[in-house]
């Protein structure tokens, strides 16, 4: 099977409890034909990276509405690289001030999506940028 679905991890790092957006996205990406691993609320960077490694995902999507993205997201990216998962596409969604976008990109984030983003935009971004892994 060469046309296997891309596998996407959707996680909410940190303490904010607003997971509606992450769930809507997880469901929407399911409908776009992705295999979505949803890990839920209150994930530490370590939990997210362990899940990404065990699930061998192509994409990690982080949903953050708390404002803690400058602390949590670079940690996830660093730990992904440390585990040899530097080729996994990282995208962040939530309330991200414009000024933070460049630093996040520098940390290893490929896509930053704010309010008003459609599911289709995220799906198209993933299809265009993820590299499916083959052993």
């Amino acid at each position: 099977m060469t046309d296997r679905p891309l596998k996407v991890l959707i996680a909410k790092p940190g303490l904010d409890g607003h997971d509606r957006g992450a769930k809507v996205l997880a469901r929407g990406l399911r409908d776009e034909g992705f295999e979505v691993v949803y890990t839920g609320l209150r994930q530490t960077p370590e939990m997210i990276v362990t899940a990404a490694l065990q699930e061998d995902v192509d994409v990690v999507g982080l949903s953050i509405l708390s404002g803690a993205h400058m602390t949590l997201v670079p940690r996830v990216c660093d730990q992904l690289r440390a585990k040899g998962l530097g080729d996994v596409l990282v995208a962040v969604g939530g309330i991200i001030p414009d000024d933070d976008v460049e630093p996040l990109r520098a940390a290893g984030v490929s896509g930053v999506f704010g309010p008003g983003t459609t599911i289709r935009e995220v799906a198209d971004f993933i299809r265009a940028n993820a590299t499916p892994r083959e052993a």
Binding site: R30, G33, E46, L53
Partner: protein, 332 residues
Amino acid sequence: MTEPGGSPAERAAALADAARAGDRRALARLLTSVENHTAVAEQALRLLYPLAGGAHLVGVTGPPGAGKSTLVAALIAQLRASGRTVAVVAVDPSSPITGGALLGDRVRMQSYASDDGVFIRSMASRGHAGGLAATSTSAAAVFDAAGFDVVLLETVGTGQSEVEVAAAADTTVVLEAPEMGDEVQAIKAGLLEVADIVVVNKGDRPGAQRTAAQLRAMLTPPGESGRADGPSARRPDVLVVTALTGEGVPELLAALDRHRADGAAEAAPAARRARAAAQVRAVLAERLWERLASPSLTPTTDAALERVARHETDPYAAADALLAALGREEAP
């Protein structure tokens, strides 16, 4: 971990060695290959299959919302406390429309991020209908060969007849929630017949003990009702568990261990042969389809399918014709 390079056989050997040596990324990558039916996966499984067989394969099945993932999480905790390593294959359904899937079983299994003795892998069913994914048994064999003591196979939420897990596992746990039906439900054929252990989960709910009592009364082994060669000659244990709090989980683990110890003497050879038959049958079907889809046979195959679709012939005649076509290919 070595980067892809070399022949499939070389890459398979490198990945299999690394996975057995404890390289978790190599193990994860190997499982992806298995899911995707790659040439590397086939080579790796040939290497790993003879090394498997030491793990206790435990199937966990039951209707959606009965608490399978929560019970698996509770079992992981109990198994870790007893010093055993645990791998989980957690299957959720793929969409028949888009092929996408929402794999949500990890939500209940959060606490093991830094524990190398636990490895959880979610799998989409990818169109397979028996409660597992087509590759779940192979994934379990990979975990087995990688040295995990226990492999928990969690099925999709099942209805009444997804009994495939019983062939894939040494011990099958069927989960029920309280008040899901009366005694007539308990005597219907199907899922409950393949249970080695029946767990009534949500034991803190009213009705749990009553449900367990009804199940105990009705789950008479077929042997006692006249057929000695029935599907299960044992009366399954019926346990009441509250997975969320861990109440009853030590007793469940004891029952699992007991079943394994007993099984080694009794039903195990037959169960293992049934599992082997299921695995070989699956590969055989796959191989047949692959050959029917080969360039030389594709026109014949397509024509046969088209004729069945138009009701010009029946599926039996078409299958016989395709087998005959395969035979002609084979002849020198």
